[in-house]
Symmetry: C2
Subunit: 213 residues, 2 copies
Protein backbone atom coordinates (compact mmCIF):
# COMPACT_ATOMS: atom_id res chain seq x y z
CA UNK A 1 0.00 0.00 0.00
CA UNK A 2 1.15 3.53 -0.70
CA UNK A 3 2.40 5.53 2.26
CA UNK A 4 1.61 9.20 2.49
CA UNK A 5 3.99 11.23 4.63
CA UNK A 6 1.46 13.63 5.93
CA UNK A 7 0.71 16.45 8.34
CA UNK A 8 -2.91 17.23 9.04
CA UNK A 9 -2.62 21.02 8.75
CA UNK A 10 -0.22 21.09 5.79
CA UNK A 11 -2.22 22.41 2.86
CA UNK A 12 0.17 20.70 0.43
CA UNK A 13 -0.47 17.32 2.08
CA UNK A 14 -4.21 18.07 2.18
CA UNK A 15 -4.14 18.43 -1.64
CA UNK A 16 -2.69 14.96 -2.05
CA UNK A 17 -5.19 13.43 0.39
CA UNK A 18 -8.01 14.83 -1.74
CA UNK A 19 -6.47 13.50 -4.95
CA UNK A 20 -5.92 10.03 -3.48
CA UNK A 21 -9.51 9.97 -2.21
CA UNK A 22 -10.92 11.13 -5.55
CA UNK A 23 -9.05 8.32 -7.27
CA UNK A 24 -10.36 5.83 -4.75
CA UNK A 25 -6.88 4.75 -3.66
CA UNK A 26 -5.98 3.26 -0.30
CA UNK A 27 -3.03 4.74 1.53
CA UNK A 28 -1.35 4.58 4.87
CA UNK A 29 -0.80 7.92 6.54
CA UNK A 30 2.50 8.52 8.29
CA UNK A 31 2.32 11.72 10.32
CA UNK A 32 5.36 13.97 10.15
CA UNK A 33 5.06 16.62 12.80
CA UNK A 34 6.18 19.90 11.29
CA UNK A 35 5.83 21.85 14.50
CA UNK A 36 8.19 19.80 16.58
CA UNK A 37 10.68 19.96 13.76
CA UNK A 38 10.71 16.25 13.09
CA UNK A 39 10.36 17.12 9.40
CA UNK A 40 13.77 18.77 9.44
CA UNK A 41 15.24 15.69 11.09
CA UNK A 42 17.78 13.49 9.44
CA UNK A 43 15.47 10.48 9.51
CA UNK A 44 12.71 12.02 7.45
CA UNK A 45 15.23 13.54 5.07
CA UNK A 46 16.22 10.03 4.02
CA UNK A 47 12.64 9.75 2.73
CA UNK A 48 12.41 13.28 1.34
CA UNK A 49 15.65 15.27 1.10
CA UNK A 50 13.60 18.49 1.12
CA UNK A 51 12.28 17.65 4.57
CA UNK A 52 8.83 18.80 3.52
CA UNK A 53 5.47 17.07 3.39
CA UNK A 54 3.87 15.54 1.47
CA UNK A 55 5.87 12.66 0.07
CA UNK A 56 4.24 9.58 -1.38
CA UNK A 57 6.15 6.34 -0.99
CA UNK A 58 5.42 3.69 -3.60
CA UNK A 59 6.81 0.17 -3.45
CA UNK A 60 9.97 1.20 -5.23
CA UNK A 61 10.50 4.89 -4.70
CA UNK A 62 9.28 8.14 -3.28
CA UNK A 63 7.41 10.92 -5.06
CA UNK A 64 7.71 14.54 -3.92
CA UNK A 65 5.89 17.82 -4.48
CA UNK A 66 2.10 17.83 -4.25
CA UNK A 67 1.35 18.84 -7.85
CA UNK A 68 3.84 16.38 -9.31
CA UNK A 69 2.20 13.67 -7.18
CA UNK A 70 -1.30 14.67 -8.31
CA UNK A 71 -0.26 14.65 -11.97
CA UNK A 72 1.26 11.19 -11.44
CA UNK A 73 -1.95 9.90 -9.88
CA UNK A 74 -3.94 11.37 -12.75
CA UNK A 75 -1.72 9.73 -15.36
CA UNK A 76 -1.72 6.31 -13.70
CA UNK A 77 -5.34 6.21 -12.50
CA UNK A 78 -7.26 8.03 -15.23
CA UNK A 79 -10.72 8.00 -13.61
CA UNK A 80 -12.05 10.42 -12.59
CA UNK A 81 -9.78 12.81 -14.53
CA UNK A 82 -8.34 15.73 -12.57
CA UNK A 83 -7.82 17.81 -15.72
CA UNK A 84 -10.07 18.64 -18.69
CA UNK A 85 -9.41 16.95 -22.03
CA UNK A 86 -8.60 20.09 -24.01
CA UNK A 87 -5.06 21.56 -23.84
CA UNK A 88 -6.23 25.17 -23.42
CA UNK A 89 -8.60 24.22 -20.65
CA UNK A 90 -5.95 22.08 -19.01
CA UNK A 91 -3.65 25.08 -19.02
CA UNK A 92 -6.36 27.20 -17.43
CA UNK A 93 -6.89 24.67 -14.65
CA UNK A 94 -3.16 24.23 -14.09
CA UNK A 95 -2.75 28.03 -13.94
CA UNK A 96 -5.38 28.30 -11.19
CA UNK A 97 -3.64 25.51 -9.31
CA UNK A 98 -0.28 27.26 -9.65
CA UNK A 99 -1.72 30.54 -8.39
CA UNK A 100 -2.24 28.79 -5.08
CA UNK A 101 0.78 26.52 -5.18
CA UNK A 102 3.36 29.06 -6.37
CA UNK A 103 1.99 32.45 -5.44
CA UNK A 104 0.09 32.09 -2.18
CA UNK A 105 1.14 29.04 -0.24
CA UNK A 106 4.97 29.21 -0.41
CA UNK A 107 5.04 32.71 1.01
CA UNK A 108 2.80 31.82 3.92
CA UNK A 109 3.88 28.39 4.97
CA UNK A 110 5.26 27.48 8.33
CA UNK A 111 8.97 27.79 7.58
CA UNK A 112 8.51 31.32 6.22
CA UNK A 113 6.38 32.47 9.15
CA UNK A 114 8.96 31.02 11.53
CA UNK A 115 11.78 32.86 9.74
CA UNK A 116 9.87 36.14 9.97
CA UNK A 117 9.50 35.70 13.71
CA UNK A 118 12.82 34.17 14.64
CA UNK A 119 15.25 35.81 12.22
CA UNK A 120 13.59 39.12 11.44
CA UNK A 121 11.85 39.64 14.75
CA UNK A 122 8.57 40.73 13.24
CA UNK A 123 5.61 41.08 15.62
CA UNK A 124 2.55 38.81 15.63
CA UNK A 125 0.57 41.66 14.13
CA UNK A 126 3.07 42.18 11.29
CA UNK A 127 3.07 38.45 10.62
CA UNK A 128 -0.73 38.42 10.41
CA UNK A 129 -0.63 41.42 8.04
CA UNK A 130 1.95 39.67 5.86
CA UNK A 131 -0.15 36.54 5.79
CA UNK A 132 -3.36 38.32 4.87
CA UNK A 133 -1.60 40.49 2.29
CA UNK A 134 -0.39 37.54 0.22
CA UNK A 135 -3.69 35.69 0.37
CA UNK A 136 -5.54 38.79 -0.81
CA UNK A 137 -2.96 39.28 -3.58
CA UNK A 138 -3.70 35.76 -4.75
CA UNK A 139 -7.42 35.45 -4.10
CA UNK A 140 -8.32 38.80 -5.73
CA UNK A 141 -7.33 37.79 -9.30
CA UNK A 142 -8.50 34.22 -8.73
CA UNK A 143 -11.96 35.43 -7.72
CA UNK A 144 -12.01 37.62 -10.81
CA UNK A 145 -10.96 34.80 -13.13
CA UNK A 146 -13.40 32.34 -11.57
CA UNK A 147 -16.31 34.78 -11.67
CA UNK A 148 -15.58 35.78 -15.28
CA UNK A 149 -15.34 32.35 -16.82
CA UNK A 150 -17.86 31.38 -19.44
CA UNK A 151 -18.55 27.86 -18.24
CA UNK A 152 -19.81 28.55 -14.74
CA UNK A 153 -20.59 25.59 -12.60
CA UNK A 154 -20.19 24.24 -9.13
CA UNK A 155 -16.42 24.02 -9.25
CA UNK A 156 -13.41 25.96 -10.57
CA UNK A 157 -13.90 24.41 -13.98
CA UNK A 158 -17.63 24.02 -14.63
CA UNK A 159 -19.06 20.93 -13.00
CA UNK A 160 -15.86 18.90 -13.17
CA UNK A 161 -13.70 18.55 -10.07
CA UNK A 162 -10.14 19.37 -11.07
CA UNK A 163 -6.65 20.05 -9.80
CA UNK A 164 -7.72 23.68 -9.30
CA UNK A 165 -10.31 22.67 -6.67
CA UNK A 166 -7.79 20.34 -5.06
CA UNK A 167 -5.48 23.32 -4.53
CA UNK A 168 -8.12 25.94 -3.72
CA UNK A 169 -9.96 24.15 -0.91
CA UNK A 170 -6.92 23.68 1.36
CA UNK A 171 -5.92 27.30 0.79
CA UNK A 172 -9.38 28.48 1.89
CA UNK A 173 -9.07 26.28 4.97
CA UNK A 174 -5.78 28.00 5.72
CA UNK A 175 -7.28 31.45 5.17
CA UNK A 176 -10.07 30.65 7.65
CA UNK A 177 -7.54 29.40 10.16
CA UNK A 178 -5.79 32.76 10.04
CA UNK A 179 -9.11 34.63 10.31
CA UNK A 180 -9.04 36.14 6.84
CA UNK A 181 -12.19 38.01 5.83
CA UNK A 182 -13.54 36.00 2.90
CA UNK A 183 -16.39 38.40 2.11
CA UNK A 184 -14.68 39.72 -1.06
CA UNK A 185 -14.50 36.17 -2.47
CA UNK A 186 -18.06 34.82 -2.81
CA UNK A 187 -17.24 32.62 -5.82
CA UNK A 188 -14.24 31.06 -4.08
CA UNK A 189 -16.30 30.29 -0.97
CA UNK A 190 -19.13 28.88 -3.08
CA UNK A 191 -16.71 26.51 -4.79
CA UNK A 192 -15.14 25.51 -1.48
CA UNK A 193 -18.56 24.69 -0.03
CA UNK A 194 -19.53 22.63 -3.08
CA UNK A 195 -16.30 20.67 -2.85
CA UNK A 196 -16.68 19.95 0.85
CA UNK A 197 -20.01 18.26 0.08
CA UNK A 198 -18.00 15.56 -1.65
CA UNK A 199 -16.80 12.63 0.43
CA UNK A 200 -13.30 12.75 -1.10
CA UNK A 201 -12.80 16.31 0.13
CA UNK A 202 -14.59 15.83 3.40
CA UNK A 203 -12.51 12.83 4.38
CA UNK A 204 -9.32 14.75 3.58
CA UNK A 205 -10.12 17.69 5.89
CA UNK A 206 -7.53 18.43 8.56
CA UNK A 207 -10.10 17.98 11.33
CA UNK A 208 -10.78 14.45 10.13
CA UNK A 209 -7.17 13.27 10.24
CA UNK A 210 -5.79 10.73 12.71
CA UNK A 211 -3.60 13.33 14.44
CA UNK A 212 -6.73 15.15 15.52
CA UNK A 213 -8.37 12.17 17.15
CA UNK B 1 1.86 35.37 -33.75
CA UNK B 2 1.89 34.64 -30.03
CA UNK B 3 2.72 37.54 -27.75
CA UNK B 4 4.82 36.96 -24.67
CA UNK B 5 4.37 39.51 -21.91
CA UNK B 6 7.89 39.45 -20.70
CA UNK B 7 10.48 41.00 -18.44
CA UNK B 8 14.09 40.23 -19.13
CA UNK B 9 15.11 39.54 -15.52
CA UNK B 10 11.96 37.67 -14.49
CA UNK B 11 12.99 34.07 -14.01
CA UNK B 12 9.40 32.93 -14.62
CA UNK B 13 9.36 34.68 -18.01
CA UNK B 14 12.85 33.30 -18.77
CA UNK B 15 11.42 29.77 -18.35
CA UNK B 16 8.78 30.40 -20.99
CA UNK B 17 11.28 31.96 -23.40
CA UNK B 18 13.35 28.77 -23.18
CA UNK B 19 10.31 26.56 -23.77
CA UNK B 20 9.17 28.61 -26.77
CA UNK B 21 12.67 28.47 -28.24
CA UNK B 22 12.99 24.72 -27.67
CA UNK B 23 9.70 24.20 -29.49
CA UNK B 24 10.89 26.40 -32.34
CA UNK B 25 7.98 28.83 -32.00
CA UNK B 26 8.00 32.46 -33.06
CA UNK B 27 6.74 35.01 -30.58
CA UNK B 28 6.57 38.73 -30.14
CA UNK B 29 7.96 40.00 -26.84
CA UNK B 30 6.06 42.72 -25.05
CA UNK B 31 8.18 44.09 -22.20
CA UNK B 32 6.35 44.72 -18.93
CA UNK B 33 8.60 46.68 -16.64
CA UNK B 34 8.26 45.24 -13.16
CA UNK B 35 10.53 47.79 -11.54
CA UNK B 36 8.59 50.87 -12.55
CA UNK B 37 5.44 49.17 -11.37
CA UNK B 38 3.81 49.07 -14.78
CA UNK B 39 2.97 45.42 -14.05
CA UNK B 40 0.66 46.46 -11.24
CA UNK B 41 -1.02 48.95 -13.53
CA UNK B 42 -4.62 48.67 -14.58
CA UNK B 43 -3.72 48.28 -18.25
CA UNK B 44 -1.62 45.16 -17.85
CA UNK B 45 -4.13 43.68 -15.43
CA UNK B 46 -6.66 43.57 -18.28
CA UNK B 47 -4.22 41.11 -19.90
CA UNK B 48 -3.29 39.25 -16.71
CA UNK B 49 -5.40 39.92 -13.61
CA UNK B 50 -2.50 38.75 -11.46
CA UNK B 51 -0.33 41.57 -12.79
CA UNK B 52 2.59 39.17 -13.05
CA UNK B 53 4.77 38.08 -15.95
CA UNK B 54 4.81 35.95 -17.97
CA UNK B 55 1.52 35.80 -19.82
CA UNK B 56 1.23 34.29 -23.27
CA UNK B 57 -1.43 35.80 -25.52
CA UNK B 58 -2.78 33.50 -28.19
CA UNK B 59 -5.19 34.64 -30.91
CA UNK B 60 -8.19 34.02 -28.69
CA UNK B 61 -7.08 34.19 -25.10
CA UNK B 62 -4.29 34.57 -22.59
CA UNK B 63 -2.40 31.86 -20.74
CA UNK B 64 -0.91 32.51 -17.31
CA UNK B 65 1.60 30.88 -14.99
CA UNK B 66 4.88 29.71 -16.44
CA UNK B 67 4.51 25.99 -15.75
CA UNK B 68 0.93 25.90 -17.04
CA UNK B 69 2.17 27.64 -20.20
CA UNK B 70 5.07 25.17 -20.62
CA UNK B 71 2.75 22.19 -20.18
CA UNK B 72 0.42 23.71 -22.78
CA UNK B 73 3.27 24.16 -25.24
CA UNK B 74 4.36 20.59 -24.62
CA UNK B 75 0.87 19.22 -25.24
CA UNK B 76 0.28 21.22 -28.41
CA UNK B 77 3.79 21.03 -29.93
CA UNK B 78 4.99 17.57 -28.96
CA UNK B 79 8.55 17.81 -30.35
CA UNK B 80 10.95 17.93 -28.66
CA UNK B 81 9.15 16.64 -25.56
CA UNK B 82 9.74 18.53 -22.33
CA UNK B 83 8.82 15.54 -20.17
CA UNK B 84 9.88 11.88 -20.24
CA UNK B 85 7.42 9.27 -21.49
CA UNK B 86 7.09 7.31 -18.26
CA UNK B 87 4.70 8.54 -15.54
CA UNK B 88 7.16 7.98 -12.68
CA UNK B 89 9.90 9.82 -14.51
CA UNK B 90 7.52 12.61 -15.48
CA UNK B 91 6.65 13.00 -11.82
CA UNK B 92 10.32 13.19 -10.94
CA UNK B 93 10.95 15.92 -13.51
CA UNK B 94 7.86 17.85 -12.46
CA UNK B 95 8.94 17.60 -8.82
CA UNK B 96 12.35 19.13 -9.63
CA UNK B 97 10.59 21.90 -11.55
CA UNK B 98 8.25 22.56 -8.62
CA UNK B 99 11.14 22.73 -6.17
CA UNK B 100 12.25 25.84 -8.03
CA UNK B 101 8.82 27.17 -8.95
CA UNK B 102 7.10 26.64 -5.59
CA UNK B 103 9.84 26.53 -3.01
CA UNK B 104 12.60 28.89 -4.13
CA UNK B 105 11.38 31.50 -6.56
CA UNK B 106 8.12 32.71 -4.91
CA UNK B 107 9.87 33.55 -1.67
CA UNK B 108 12.58 35.54 -3.41
CA UNK B 109 10.83 37.38 -6.17
CA UNK B 110 10.64 41.12 -6.53
CA UNK B 111 7.31 41.72 -4.78
CA UNK B 112 8.47 39.82 -1.69
CA UNK B 113 11.83 41.57 -1.49
CA UNK B 114 10.05 44.92 -1.86
CA UNK B 115 7.64 44.03 0.95
CA UNK B 116 10.54 43.10 3.22
CA UNK B 117 12.16 46.47 2.62
CA UNK B 118 9.13 48.74 2.48
CA UNK B 119 6.74 47.17 4.99
CA UNK B 120 9.04 45.38 7.38
CA UNK B 121 12.00 47.73 7.14
CA UNK B 122 14.60 44.98 6.89
CA UNK B 123 18.15 46.04 6.03
CA UNK B 124 19.90 45.25 2.75
CA UNK B 125 22.04 42.75 4.63
CA UNK B 126 19.01 40.98 6.12
CA UNK B 127 17.39 40.89 2.70
CA UNK B 128 20.50 39.30 1.20
CA UNK B 129 20.59 36.75 4.02
CA UNK B 130 16.91 35.94 3.46
CA UNK B 131 17.53 35.54 -0.24
CA UNK B 132 20.52 33.26 0.16
CA UNK B 133 18.84 31.23 2.88
CA UNK B 134 15.93 30.17 0.66
CA UNK B 135 18.10 29.38 -2.32
CA UNK B 136 20.33 27.18 -0.18
CA UNK B 137 17.26 25.49 1.34
CA UNK B 138 16.15 24.65 -2.20
CA UNK B 139 19.43 23.91 -3.94
CA UNK B 140 20.77 21.62 -1.18
CA UNK B 141 18.16 18.86 -1.67
CA UNK B 142 18.09 19.44 -5.43
CA UNK B 143 21.85 18.94 -5.67
CA UNK B 144 21.50 15.78 -3.62
CA UNK B 145 18.67 14.42 -5.78
CA UNK B 146 20.45 15.30 -9.02
CA UNK B 147 23.76 13.81 -7.90
CA UNK B 148 22.10 10.62 -6.64
CA UNK B 149 20.05 9.74 -9.67
CA UNK B 150 20.84 6.56 -11.51
CA UNK B 151 20.58 7.94 -15.03
CA UNK B 152 23.27 10.59 -14.94
CA UNK B 153 23.69 12.66 -18.00
CA UNK B 154 24.21 16.20 -19.14
CA UNK B 155 20.89 17.50 -17.88
CA UNK B 156 18.51 17.11 -14.90
CA UNK B 157 17.04 14.01 -16.49
CA UNK B 158 19.80 12.12 -18.27
CA UNK B 159 20.53 13.52 -21.70
CA UNK B 160 17.02 14.81 -22.34
CA UNK B 161 16.27 18.49 -21.86
CA UNK B 162 13.17 18.77 -19.70
CA UNK B 163 10.96 21.11 -17.74
CA UNK B 164 13.38 20.68 -14.83
CA UNK B 165 16.22 22.30 -16.78
CA UNK B 166 13.87 25.04 -17.98
CA UNK B 167 13.22 25.95 -14.34
CA UNK B 168 16.71 25.36 -12.97
CA UNK B 169 18.72 27.53 -15.38
CA UNK B 170 16.84 30.80 -14.67
CA UNK B 171 17.12 30.12 -10.93
CA UNK B 172 20.89 29.72 -11.20
CA UNK B 173 21.04 32.99 -13.15
CA UNK B 174 19.15 34.63 -10.29
CA UNK B 175 21.46 33.10 -7.70
CA UNK B 176 24.50 34.46 -9.54
CA UNK B 177 22.88 37.88 -9.74
CA UNK B 178 22.57 37.93 -5.96
CA UNK B 179 26.17 36.70 -5.55
CA UNK B 180 25.32 33.32 -4.09
CA UNK B 181 28.26 30.99 -3.58
CA UNK B 182 27.53 28.07 -5.92
CA UNK B 183 30.52 25.98 -4.81
CA UNK B 184 28.32 23.49 -2.87
CA UNK B 185 26.33 22.74 -6.04
CA UNK B 186 28.71 21.33 -8.67
CA UNK B 187 26.05 19.17 -10.32
CA UNK B 188 23.62 22.08 -10.63
CA UNK B 189 26.30 24.31 -12.18
CA UNK B 190 27.36 21.53 -14.55
CA UNK B 191 23.77 21.16 -15.77
CA UNK B 192 23.38 24.93 -16.14
CA UNK B 193 26.53 25.13 -18.24
CA UNK B 194 25.43 22.25 -20.47
CA UNK B 195 22.05 23.92 -21.01
CA UNK B 196 23.56 27.29 -21.88
CA UNK B 197 25.46 25.61 -24.72
CA UNK B 198 22.11 25.12 -26.41
CA UNK B 199 20.86 27.89 -28.66
CA UNK B 200 17.32 27.73 -27.17
CA UNK B 201 18.67 28.54 -23.73
CA UNK B 202 21.30 30.98 -24.90
CA UNK B 203 18.81 33.07 -26.88
CA UNK B 204 16.50 33.21 -23.84
CA UNK B 205 19.15 34.65 -21.48
CA UNK B 206 18.26 37.95 -19.81
CA UNK B 207 21.35 39.62 -21.28
CA UNK B 208 20.17 38.75 -24.78
CA UNK B 209 16.73 40.35 -24.48
CA UNK B 210 15.62 43.48 -26.30
CA UNK B 211 15.37 45.51 -23.07
CA UNK B 212 19.11 45.13 -22.64
CA UNK B 213 20.02 46.49 -26.04
Amino acid sequence: MMKLYDYYRSTAAYRVRIALNLKGLDYQQIPVNLLTGEDGGAEYRTVNPQGLVPALALDDGVLQQSLAICEYLDETVPEPPLLPGDARQRSRVRALAQMVVSDIHPVNNLRILQYLTRELGVSEEQKQTWYHHWIHEGFRPMEQLLAAQAAKGKFCFGDQVTLADICLVPQVYNARRFALDLTPYPRIVQIEQACLQLEAFNRARPEHQPEMV
